[in-house]
Structure formats: structure tokens, C-alpha cells
Amino acid sequence: NVLGSQLGVGVQGASLYRPQEHYDAKKPQWLRPVDDTLPERMLDLHVVAKGVVCDTSVRYVSDDKILQESDDDDDNDDDDLITSDLDEDMDDVQNTSVVVNPVVPVVPKHVHFFKKVDLDNDYMFSVNCDAPVSLQDYIPSDLLHNLNRNGRLQRQDAFFWDPTVANRMDTEYIQTASDLRNYRDGTEIIAYASGKTDSVLNIAVLARQHTLLLNRNNNVTSIELHSPIKSIKIPRASESIGRRSNLVGVVTENSFQVFRIESIHSRSCDVIITSSEPLYFVEIDDIQIVDFAFNPWDLQQFAVIDIRGNWNIGMIPKKFDEERGKLQIIESLHGSIFDPEELSSWKRIEWFSQFQKILVFDRSKMFEINFVNDWQTEVVQAKTWSSIRDYKRIDDKNGVLLTSREIIIIGASEANGPVRRISWKHDLDPDDTTLKITIQKVNKTDYLLLVAFVYSMRHNHVYIHAFSQNKKLNATPSLFQSLGHSAVLELSGGTPTGIEVLSTLDRIDDEEGEHANDHACFITDFSIKLRKSSKIYHYTLSNIQTPEPDEQEKFIVTDSTEWTWLFDKVDSRESESIGALTAQIREKERKHASRIQNLIENESSHDEDKYFQDLGYHLSMATNELLQSWQRNRDESIRAGSTSYSKLETLIEDSTSFTSIPEFSSLLDQFFQYYEDQDVTFIDFNQLLRFFLHEDVPNLDIFYNKLLQCWVLVSPQAELYTKEIVKDIVWSLVRLEKPSLFELIEKEISQSLSKPYQDIIDSWDVNDLNEEDESSDF
């Protein structure tokens, strides 16, 4: 099938019947696109370990260490130590002193403020300011304005994202020259952007313990690139060349630059780096480069593509030194896939199955280009039902294409052209433009598992699907099977902000540990950076039945910057005021409490009975007076359409100097009864208490007791507080109203309406209009 097997939840694809040789042998009878040799619950993954790899808002101890010339001999002496010191220093973990100087932008002394600086606000120009225009630096007023707004979210940020910002974090195994010489497999490193404008490139060696951590010296090499970093990539080399890369490619807002890791000090974890000269966009075509790739078979060759779809092949010099530090664009090897219909800046470039073949993508097309033999083919045209979201290279033969609808494994045919192998319909929101994919290879003894993590900037969920490649089915080595189902992994609580980048490490040394023998068990891991969060987390996932109970999990607070600005931006003066205010409030409250405390202590004395008698007397006096005045103003009220009402509490002065809730309750009951047959209503407050407890509350005492049962657990003064609150609530609810006014007012207004409106209002009390109405109308 040209389209390969197209699968989705519950969708059957083409299968092959394989007759049994012997009737009794129970062998799988079908070769299906879904791998039924693996259990259904294979992807029931849960987090077994989670930790913070590093915090990008923290500047770790080490200073800039960028050398113009590499010095290989330097670290040779330490090579022998590498195995031993790992074991010795394991206990020293607590020494990890994360000393922390937040990155503060250094403002040059000669900065002057201008009222207005005219700038072409076309962003294509703004990136090209390589050489300063004048000797004076300026700060655009926009920037000042934004800074003054205390980091409030910009509208643009809330509704849009920039596809030129791809990965600002990558983790990978690399091999330095000395690694190669000493037959070492390589070192796990992380590269990430940091700083207020993300212009600092950080490279550090990782250490693996329970989870992935920064090396124990917290030694991070930081390089200020003076331009916001848009994308960082550590290339993976082809397995066939038998070594890993030692390069880190970086695209900033105005240049493309390659860094080479020359050596890593085994004890201090110092990373010695050399760098190419930045390839400024002004030097090529003035259009921003959005993506790049390194030739997996030739680490000297790279390819870049700009936001309009122009691509170039280039060469990296063998050594970065003063004469030869320049990246060379090969003049003859270039082309363009520009499509005027493609508004998005998103473009991708990646090597395919052969040295001379690249795949070039925009949102609606995938091109296969052979830059040596000078031909190109449009392999995929996604103009209608779907659009391309991401592409990742898996190995020399295969890659995975993520579209808005499917995850598609693309493999090289016998003729080395790209073909669809198998696809999985993922059912994710097809309009989510932020979807990306990362693949983790899991090597088991009899099969290879490709675990696909699909993530989005819109939520904290990772959609996981997996494909297996059976190593035993030797007849068809390129046969991929789907696992037939997917899993959704939720990344910790907190506010869902979305995932900026998810990165995996390509391990070759498949030590699967204790579960290596178990057919269906596997462990996988990834590092992740959430949007709006400065921390990079590492997750280890496993499908082993019981997750390790993790008590700390509960207490890991995800960064929630949303509200910090409101509560944090407190200068000392403000904080003084607030401190004083809270002190004042707590003092008032203390006095209030002690007054009540006194009352409670004297509750049994006769004072309280006397108090209630007085209270009742005053209340009825005031009420009588109020009723009389209402009667006097009756006609006036009707004419104005204003009701007569009053809160009981406002009629008397001292309403709270008592403590007995039952006495209070009975006082009110007697009071209401007394006025029962007069033209005044009190709303039964017992009925209203249900709105607090969400159940029927027969009387005030029960209300009091239920509240007390709760608060006695958290407050030594619960009794006191509960009494006060109950009193306060009751007084706020008790009111009187003159009910006879209602109908009179209704009548008054109704008569002032014209006939059609009167007709409408006349039907207010008619309940079941249905039948009556229909018969009268027709």
C-alpha cells in the first residue's frame, strides 16, 4: 500500500494470514499492523523518578570559559581518574552548593535616555544591527514600557507563538576527541539558553543518579551571545560512522554559530569549548535562519534554511581558530522551497537516508532534495485536510513525521526514496499549531521500541504512542508495528502552561538494568522545560506495575509566575506599610477576641439574662417606631415604587455583647412571633443557613455546632470565633419588610404601562400557559 498501514484507535489495517504448520502449535496467526506480541497495557507509563536538572534563572558558579584554541593535552592526565572518582565522590552529594547569582543585565555606564528613537518597526530590520549605529546605546521606549509593566503578559504572547523559536534546550551524548581516543562512549551534556533575553548559551555535563542531574560541581559553562537564542541543537551522528558528534549549533536572532566541545575535564566537569565565527544573516541573504541540520555522515557539513524557505549547504572548518573560524556556505548548493501561500516562518531541514539527500519542510510540503544530483521532489503536499507539525530523524533509514492528524513513520525504500511505513491517527486537536514530537528509542533484546512523545505549548500533557520493530522477524527488517493504543501523561499539577521543549538522549549502551530480561517492561526518560518556567525537569517513566510511592511529589510546587508580580513587586516602603497594616489588624483582632473571651468567661452570670431582656425591649421599641414611620410614608412609597425595609441590626446600638447562641436564637424567635400578625415579615434565617452548609439546618444551635466541629481542629479559640461569626451572620441576615406594599407597588407601576405591556405583566402569575394559550390563539 502506498499509504502504508493507516491506524488509529479501533481501526484495523491490512493483516497477513499466516497458516500454522502444525495444528497444535499456538503461534500468532496473523501478522497485523498492531503488534500483538506485546501486552495491551504496554504504555501504561508512570513517573518513577522526577527531579530538577537545573534552573535556567540561576547562574551557576563557573565563569565563561571560552577558548580560542583547544588544548587537548591538558586534560589527558585526568582521563584515568574518570572511572575511579565516580565511586569515591558519590557521598559528596550534599556538597552541591548551588550558589546563585541571578543574571542581572549589565547596563553600560554610557547609556542615555532619549525621548524618542525612531526605529523602523519592521522586525526584519531590527535583527540586523550588527554594528552599533552610534557610540551611544539606546533603549527603545517599547522595551522600557514593557519592563515597567512588571512582566504583565503581553497580548501577543498570550495568543501567538513564534515558530522560529524551536528548542532552547537540548540534551545529548557527545564524544570529544579524547573520548574517542580512549574508547569512551561519550558524555551526557545539556545545552540551554538563559538570561533575561535568553542570550546566554549554557553547556554543562550531566550526571545520572536516580534522575538526571547537573554535574556535582554545578559547573556550567556560560557564553553570552549578545543576541536572543532561538534554537539549540546537538546533532546525532549516523551509527555507521561509529562516533558521536561534539558540536552544538545555535541560531540567535541575527546569526548562526557552531560550538565544538573540545574536551571535558573529568573531575571539575569543565567544558572546554571553541566556537566558529557567527554566520550573520546579513552576510547571506538577510533573511532569518530558522532551522539547521548537520550531516550525520559528515560532521563537517551542515544545512540551513531561512524563514522564507531558502536553503543552503555549508561547511564547518576542522578547527576554529582565528584564520579558519568561518562557516563556509557552499555557493553552488542552495535552493528554495518558497511558497507565497505559506505565511508561517516555520521551516525544517533534515538529512534523509543518504549523504546527499535532505528533506526540507514547510507547513504544507515535504521535499526530498538530492543536492549532489540536482533534483528535488515534492513528496508530501498537505494543503487541505492537514498540515505538517514536526519531523524527527530516527536513524539512517527512518524518520517520523508529525502532522496535525497523524504520526507517520517515513522510511527509505529500496530505491532510497521516502515511503510511508505506518501511520497512527492521534486524534489531537488538528488546529493546535504548537504540536511537536520527540522520539526515544528503547532497545530490547528482541525488538526495538520507538516511543513518540507528542507535546504542545497549550497544555501539560504528553501524548505517547509507540511503534515496535521486531528484531526476530528477519524477513522484513523495516516492518514497523504500532502498539495499537496511546497513553496520556500528565506532568505535575499547578497551572497548565504548556511544554516548550522535550528532549531525549539517544543512548546506545542499552543497559536496561534489572528489567532487561523482562519482555514487556521498559524504562524511558526525557528532560522537559515548561513554558513560563525557568526549571528544566527530568522524568523517568516506566510501565512496571507498581509506581514507587513518592512523598515529595506532593510538595513539588510548579512555578507559578502568574500571580507573583502582583504580590512580589513590593518595595521596602510598601512592605513596611503592609507590615504595619497587618500588625494593626492583628492587634485589633486580638483586642476583639479578648473582649469576647471576657464575655464567655462571665457567661453564667446574671448579666447576660439582663442583657437579652434589654436587647428585646430596645428592639421592639425601635421596631414599633419604624413601623409607624412606614405607615406614615405609605402613599409616598407607593408612588415612588420604593419598598420599606430595614436591617434589624441597625435599629439598636450594642448588638453583640452576649455569648449564648441558644438564648439569642430564642430571643429572635419570640420577637418574630410577637410581630406575626402585624404588617411586617421577617425572613426565616434558619432556611438561609442551608446556603452555607449545603444541607438543611433546623436551627441556629446546629449551625453553630457544625461550624465549631470544623474549626476546633484548627484554632485554639474556635469556640470564641465560631460564636462571633454566627452572631455576625445572623445579624446580617435578619431584616424586616412591609409586605403589604408589594402588591400596591406592582399595581401602581402596572397601571402606568401601556396596554400591551400590561397584558404581558398580567400573565406573570399564569403558570401553565401551554394548553390555554394554544386554544385561545387558534
Binding site: 497551572t495 497548565p496 506532593k554 510538595f555 510546587v557 507559578s560 502568574e562 500571580w563 502582583l566 504580590f567 512580589d568 506599610s577 503592609i578 497594616l581 497587618t582 500588625a583 489588624i585 492583628r586 415604587g641 420604593s642 419598598t643 425595609y645 436591617k647 425572613i683 426565616d684 432556611q687 446556603f691 452555607f692 452548609l693 449545603h694 444541607e695 461550624l707 466541629q709 470544623c710 481542629l713 484548627v714 484554632s715 479559640q717 474556635a718 470565633y721 465560631t722 461569626i725 455576625d728 451572620i729 446580617s732 441576615l733 431584616r735 419588610e737 409586605p739 408589594f742 407597588i745 402606568s752 404601562l753 405591556y757 404581558i760 405583566i761 400573565s763 406573570w764 400557559l769 394559550d773
Partner: protein, 431 residues
Amino acid sequence: QQRRSHKKFKKLIGHEAKLLFLKSFQFILKRQTRWLIDEMHFPAEFDHVVKIIWLKLLKTINDQPREELRLRLHMASTVSILYLASTHLSLPVYTCDYIKWICTTKMPYFQASELLPKSWRTRLPNYYISILEGSISPFNGQLCNKIALTCGTIQFNKSFNSQVSCQGLLLKLVMQYALPPEFYFYTKQIIEFQETDIKNLALWERIDERHTGPISNHAELRIISYFMLTIHWIISFDQDHRYPLKWILELSSSLTRHSTTRESIDRNIVNVVYPDKSTSNDYFQWSDEETLQFLNWMEKQFLPTQTRSLDDESGSNDMTIDQKIARRKLYKIFPLDPDTNRDHEAIDSKHQLTFIEDLQERYAKQQSFLNNNKTVHFTTRQDIHLPTRKEAVNSLMTQIASQLSADFAISEQQLKDCIYRLKKACIHKMN
């Protein structure tokens, strides 16, 4: 059936249509009022107060010249009338309660047009019917603004009690976030500090039709903002160490606790209705029981409003007979029959916690973390796995804020603006 209906049920136009719309609007308003009295045990006087407010509104419509008559009524107007009436009677119900009642389809709101007598519905222009369908629940402070506008239109403050019963709301808030009782008084103190008297928190009468004015004009929103400020300030300036870090962490994790009281299920339903809230994705963490309760609600409350026209043979002309037969067959393949679901009964028979029992459990969990004995000081050594106090407070505030903004159908930005203003005002007054 189309030929017949074409003649018989002619759509009304012009003023006639407007009158029928008003009649329909009143019909729904009356249904809502009756529901509140019957089911929510509102006092009988409520009906009269609603009627008078409606009459006053009608009077303003009556007084407009017929040619340029603009009704400006929406389903949210019904809620604003009800809200004004309950405020007048000092009932302890607030916008959050109304939002909850409509979002859980208990009070008629969504698809309310289906309640109308058929003869009205057939003659009412589609535009008006679509208004009475409710379709979108009020958001971004629309309800507050509508209340203020209705208030202004009929000069509510003149003839009614417009004082919001702040105490009731405070108690509700303290209980909802499982705070110790002293927070009730702290908040009250701050309000009295800033507003001089708690009674000064009254409904805002908005006259200007075009501009809503600052969101902090709304009394309820002021109260919840004071509430948030109080929590933040008291916990941040906790001199005698009554509120330790672990308590803050426990409190915020208790807010995301997944319980299945009727209250919390209702809250779950409200949360899924608002897309831009961070709470709107909570259902990814729902327990099976919560999901099941949600589905039960769907089956018993939501689906009936959806399929009303489907069961009604004459009402649905968007389906042919064949399609209807096909539907029936499909429903037979997927019966929505509780008997087929074994787990269903097991969970149903389980005792469901009441609100107050659940609250007690939440308080009980905090108990050990609160520092009621002042001689104990917290350890200065900080556990590396614990976040800092500041982080914990921020996370607590974020959670409370997102829940509040969902409950009151305002945007988080609006809540922020409101808090920001009040904070400035407090600091200003302090100096």
C-alpha cells in the same frame, strides 16, 4: 409538516415580535423564580420583589419611543434581576451561586427557549429564540456588568436595599478554602479599614451603557479581592509563626483534593464550562468517581435539555424518519443503561460525604501543621525538597485566584486589576 407550519405559524415581525419576546422573557424569568422558591427555599416574598424589579424594567422599555425601542435583554438579564431581588432581601446568595445554578442546568437558563409554549416558539423570530437559548454562560465579568447596568437602569438603590451582605460571602469563602476562622475577622478588619464601614459595600449603579468602568466597582469583587489580599498579607507577615510552610503546602494541596460531595461535583461542572481558566483542565485529574458523578449529572440533567427536541416528534424537523430509526438502532447498540454497568451501583451505594463532613476532613488534615503552640519555632534548616515559603504562598494564591475567577465568571486579569487597585488604595491609606 413543513407545508402546514408555513401557514399556521407565521413568524412575527416588528413590535409584535418584541412584545412576544418580552412575554417569553418574563415566562422564563418566572420559571426561574419558581425554581428558586421551590427548590432553593427562597422566601415567598422573593416572587414579589422579582416582579417589581421586572415591572420597573418594563416601565423603562414602555417609556422608550416605539420606533427606536431597544430591549437590551439577554438571558444574563434574567439572572441580574434575580440577583438584585435576592440582594434586596439580604439572602446569602451571590453571583457565584447563580453561575453555579445555571452551569449545572438546575436553574432554567441554557436551552430555556425550549420551555416556552410551542405556539410562542414557532412565532418568535429566530434571533430572539437564539437569545433565549442562553448558549454561552456569562464570562469576563459580563454578569457583574449586567447587574450594574440593570441596577442603574431602574435606579435600584433608590427603592431597594443595595447593600451586599458581605458577612455571608466571607463565611462562604473561609469555608471554601478551609481557612482557620480568624481569617473571617482579618478580612473584615481590612475591609473596615479601607471602606470605613462594611455596610458601604453596596451594588454599583452603572449608567454609562458603553463603558463598564473599573471592575473594582463591583462590591462582590472587592470582597474577594480583600479576601485574597488578607490571606497573602497575613501569611507573609506571619510574625509569631502561626502559619508554617508545611501548613501552606497542605492547604494548597487540599484545594486540589478530589472529593465527590455534591458541592464539589457542581464546582467541577462549572470549571469545565470556562475555557480560559486554569481550572478548566482539572478534569484530567478527576478520579474515576468524579468522572462517574459528572457522567451521572450529564445523563440526568444535561442530556434531557439536549434531546428534548429529539424525542418530541413534531418538534424536530431536522431529522428524517430513516435517520431517527438509525439513531434508535445506534442507541440500542450503546444503551445508556445503568444495569450494564456493574461498577455504577457499587459507587452509588457508597456513602457520599456531605459538604461539612468533607470540610471537616480537610481541616483535620491541616491540624498537625498549624502552629497553635507559640513556643515551637520552625526549624531554620530548610528541607531541600520543599519549595520556599514565597513559592508556596504564590502557588496557594494562584490556586485560590483561579478558582475564584472561575466561580465568579471573571477573567484572571480582571481579578488582578481589582486586587491591584485595592492594594494600592490600602497602601495609600496607610501612609
